[in-house]
């Protein structure tokens, strides 16, 4: 349950007054008890003495009947619990009842003993009884026996309870009423300002930082109000600083143009220091010189004329050097009195009195100095110093970014030049390879034709060595022919530049298998396939890709008939296609090497080939923006994977494997 301060105060006051009332009631009860007991003792002594006087004759005459009658009359008193009359020896005569069970018994209880040892009336409280006992004496003071009476304290208790109830009722009602009223007043007096403080806090929390409380109170609540106001003011300043920092940060990140960033920064500093002149210099020439990069509220030409002539760069000296050496903020309250100040007359002429210099960057990497001059003697407060540090940090970042930007632009320019040169070189190389291959074909066809003709026409007419030499020449010419054909194919991948079209990979596979039908039939191969997608690419090149990979699977088979599976899977925005076989497999260490041109793992006697097929495959896949790799182990077959773009349909061939990085 949520209780307000007022409710708590009321409960607290109620409790306090209840406690006070209880204590008061207890005190009153004890007082009343003492008084009532005293009165009761006095009263019972009077009653006992009176009764003793009235029964003297009966005791003296031993008239037990008469004694009983008188005691019975005495017991009409409702508070009287018992009466005992004994003889002088303490032997019971009558208790006032007809039964009189204790008659002739000696009373030996402590009180009876006490009574007999006393010559006056004695009283004692035992349990709920107030006992009184004393001698029965005649007019001549002669004692004939003892009278003992027991009075119930119930009546007295009732009186005490009545007194306590009256005290509790009276004191409690008044006390609680006063307490509740006071608590209500105090609660109201406290609750209102507390609610105002709570409301102000809510307003401040909601962003209304201009909210302020009336600080008219001199008590703790006044202190709280003052603290809330201070907190709001501090928050306002902080928020302002954060906004400034955010604006500066956005400006710094939005542009890499140093002058514009610094212009904005100096504007913020100017606002902070009431239109004071602000100058920022950066270290250049390996930290040997300062270069002016920003001016605010100062005549730039006049300043530069005073300090560096017409040059924007000046040697690192004076207060700027002192700032870099002091590694922090340098404050000079009176420029005219500081011996480190040069151009004092100029500064006086400009009306500048105090100086603040802040190191930009760090001690290990000083970037420059931010300088603020004020026209009045000024000691910067903690907020100003903090704000100056923040702005200085941003200025440093801006200078750093500017330098990085400058460096990156230079690097970009250099890279672009190299890329262009490389592209030109590649194009020339491809052109050369194509031209060389094409031009080599003509004489090679002549060599092949004539060596073949020589072998056919002179077969059996020459000696065995001659026939063998001719066979070698024919074979070499044929191999060169294949080599040149493959080289042509390879170079055409880069030079053909056909537009990509949407292709049915299933149809492409069918074409490739048709081309390889003789080899498939000869090897008894079994070719299976997944559901194949439609892809975007160069039809000729992709068909060539499939022919090469399936052809390799047929060629590098083991003793078992080849089992080839064309697989396909979708992964995000690309298709992963695969050609899996059960052939001789490839040692994983050669998984990269096999895609390089003219790289072969077997001799021509083992498996004929030019060493261009897989290089051609890689070039085709690269051109389609994909990747090719192999997973295999010797004797366990091989799976060639290649990827092709899937989601973004594009008819533009992939121009180059060299990516231009946008900066």
């Amino acid at each position: 349950m949520k209780l307000g301060i007022r409710a708590k105060l009321i409960i607290c006051a109620f409790g306090v007054f209840l406690f006070t009332s209880a204590v008061s009631a207890g005190f009153v009860y004890l007082q009343a008890r003492r008084e009532i007991l005293y009165d009761a003792e006095t009263s019972v002594k009077d009653i006992a003495a009176s009764t003793a006087g009235s029964v003297f004759d009966e005791v003296y005459r031993l008239d037990l009947w008469g004694l009983r009658q008188k005691l019975a009359a005495a017991r009409a008193n409702p508070d009287l619990s018992y009466t005992y009359v004994t003889d002088i020896a303490g032997v019971m005569l009558s208790d006032g009842s007809s039964g009189n069970p204790l008659r002739d018994h000696m009373l030996t209880d402590p009180f009876s003993t006490l009574m007999r040892s006393s010559s006056t009336w004695v009283t004692r409280i035992e349990g709920d009884l107030l006992k009184v006992g004393g001698p029965i004496r005649g007019p001549d003071k002669s004692q004939v026996g003892y009278l003992q009476m027991g009075f119930s304290l119930a009546g007295m208790h009732n009186d005490l309870v009545d007194a306590a109830v009256r005290a509790i009722t009276f004191g409690g009602v008044i006390g609680i009423s006063v307490g509740v009223a006071l608590a209500f007043l105090f609660g109201t007096a406290l609750g209102r300002p507390i609610r105002a403080i709570a409301e102000a806090c809510r307003q401040i929390g909601a962003g209304k930082l201009e909210t302020r409380l009336d600080g008219g109170r001199s008590d703790e609540l006044g202190e709280v109000a003052e603290a809330v106001n201070s907190m709001a003011a501090a928050l306002e300043r902080k928020i302002d600083q954060l906004k400034t920092a955010q604006e500066v940060n956005e400006a710094v990140t939005a542009t890499l143009e140093l002058p514009s960033v610094l212009q904005m920064l100096t504007g913020k500093i100017e606002r902070l220091f009431s239109h004071s002149p602000v100058i920022i210099v950066q270290l250049v020439n390996r930290g040997q010189e300062f270069e002016y990069v920003a001016f605010r509220n100062v005549d730039e030409e006049e300043w530069m004329a005073e300090y560096g002539g017409k040059s924007r760069s000046i040697a690192m000296s004076g207060l700027g050097k002192a700032v870099i050496e002091c590694e922090g903020i340098l404050h000079i309250r009176d420029l005219t009195a500081d011996p480190r100040v040069r151009h004092r007359k100029f500064l006086i002429r400009q009306g500048l009195v105090s100086y603040f210099g802040l190191l930009l960057g760090s001690k290990d990497n000083p970037l420059g100095v931010l300088t603020v001059y004020t026209r009045q003697p000024h000691d910067p407060g903690p907020d100003e110093v903090e704000a100056l540090h923040d702005l200085g940090r941003h200025a440093g970042v801006a200078i750093q970014n500017s330098r990085l930007y400058q460096a990156s632009r230079e690097a970009e320019k250099s890279l672009a030049e190299k890329v262009a040169e490389l592209a030109r070189s590649n194009a020339e190389l491809e052109q050369f390879a194509y031209a060389a291959s094409h031009d080599l074909q003509e004489p090679l066809r002549a060599i092949t034709g004539y060596t073949t003709l020589l072998a056919k026409r002179y077969k059996g007419k020459l000696d065995r060595d001659a026939e063998e030499f001719i066979d070698f020449a024919v074979d070499g010419a044929n191999r060169m022919q294949r080599l040149i054909n493959d080289l042509l194919l390879y170079s055409r991948v880069g030079t053909g530049r056909k537009e990509f079209t949407l292709l049915d990979f299933k149809a492409l596979l069918a074409d490739a298998l048709l081309s390889l039908k003789a080899a498939i039939d000869e090897s008894g191969a079994c070719v299976t396939q997944d559901t194949l997608p439609k892809v975007c690419g160069d039809e000729t090149q992709l068909r060539q890709l499939l022919q090469n990979l399936i052809g390799n699977a047929l060629k590098y088979r083991d003793r078992e008939p080849p089992r080839i599976h064309i697989g396909c899977a979708r992964e995000r925005d690309r298709w992963i296609l695969s050609v899996k076989d059960n052939g001789i497999g490839i040692d994983p260490q050669y998984a990269e090497r096999i895609f390089a041109i003219f790289q072969r793992l077997h001799t021509g006697q083992e498996y004929p080939g030019t060493g261009i097929g897989l290089a051609l495959c890689k070039k085709i896949v690269d051109r389609h923006g994909g990747r090719i790799w192999v997973e295999s182990a010797p004797g366990r077959g091989a799976t060639f994977y290649f990827t092709l773009p899937a989601s973004n349909f594009s008819v533009r061939p992939f121009e180059s494997t060299i990516h231009q990085v946008a900066i």
Binding site: L62, W65, G66, R68
Partner: protein, 301 residues
């Protein structure tokens, strides 16, 4: 300040005056009793009066009243003058009234289940008294002058034993004449017992039931010197001249009281009366034997 006795007498006189002023003797049956406290007596007798009033209407009795006398002589006067028709009391007063007025005994009254008792004279074991004659020169405590068991029959026993009981005189200084037996009235049986036990008197007289009750744990310390023959506890007498028919009717009603629930209830409220039955046959003998002594007593009084 008047004494208690004086106050009682004044009240009794006032009640008598009131009773006489409003009495219509002709059509009412009046039951008489002797007592110091008329109000208490009337309260005790009212249940019986109310019970009798209804059945006696057939006998011409319009109402039944209770008349309280302060002494035997006054009761005798009432009976003689016809102001009391029925008188219920213990044996000794009844016999005196009968002797004085010629009233006749009609029924015996049982109280608390007891119809008879015996008078006893007792003393302490260590009193060197073992028989009545040993009381010669001693002091005996009687209850009160009209007590049957506490005075009349014990005194009769002392006389028959050849002793001469005489009231103790204050001037005797405690000495008793040889051959005499001094007696004092204790006013209550419990006083009689206390006085004997504490040696204030040499012997005491009471009935055997009271003796057992009051002696309590001291009964072993006491010796009974004399025990009388059974004595009727209470008697109902009727005045001489009362209509025999009415007497018969009354007798019939009272004898039947303990047979009905309403009768039992009325009996119980009538000072714990158990029943009424005919006077024992031997009682006439007791009366005749006691007559001389009774006359002597009347002369004394």
């Amino acid at each position: 300040m008047p004494s208690r006795k004086a106050r009682v007498w004044a009240l009794w006189t006032w009640l008598c005056v009131i009773s006489l002023q409003g009495s219509v003797w002709g059509d009412a049956l009046r039951i008489g009793s002797i007592g110091y406290l008329p109000a208490d007596e009337i309260r005790d007798f009212l249940p019986l009066a109310r019970y009798l009033s209804e059945p006696l209407k057939t006998a011409g009795v319009e109402e039944v009243r209770v008349i309280v006398a302060g002494s035997i002589s006054e009761m005798a006067g009432f009976m003689r003058s016809g102001k009391v028709d029925l008188y219920i009391d213990s044996v000794f007063p009844s016999m005196i009234v009968s002797e004085l007025t010629g009233s006749r005994f009609l029924l015996r009254r049982w109280k608390r289940g007891i119809g008879e008792y015996r008078a006893v004279i007792f003393c302490k074991n260590d009193a060197s008294i073992s028989k009545l004659t040993d009381l010669r020169g001693k002091t005996v405590a009687f209850e009160e002058p009209f007590s049957s068991s506490g005075y009349f029959f014990p005194k009769l026993a002392l006389l028959r034993a050849g002793l001469r009981p005489v009231p103790k005189r204050e001037s005797s200084g405690g000495s008793v004449a040889a051959g005499d037996v001094d007696y004092v009235f204790s006013n209550a049986d419990e006083n009689t017992m206390a006085w004997v036990l504490r040696g204030r008197v040499n012997a005491g007289a009471t009935d055997h039931q009271t003796f057992a009750k009051e002696a309590r744990g001291h009964i072993k310390d006491l010796t009974i010197l004399y025990e009388s023959a059974p004595i009727t506890r209470h008697l109902l007498s009727y005045r001489d001249g009362l209509s025999e028919n009415l007497v018969g009717k009354i007798k019939q009603i009272l004898l039947a009281m303990d047979k009905s629930a309403s009768g039992k209830k009325a009996l119980l409220e009538f000072h714990q009366t158990s029943k009424f039955d005919p006077v024992p046959l031997g009682f006439a003998d007791i009366v005749s034997k006691s007559a001389p002594f009774l006359r002597q007593e009347l002369e004394l009084k």
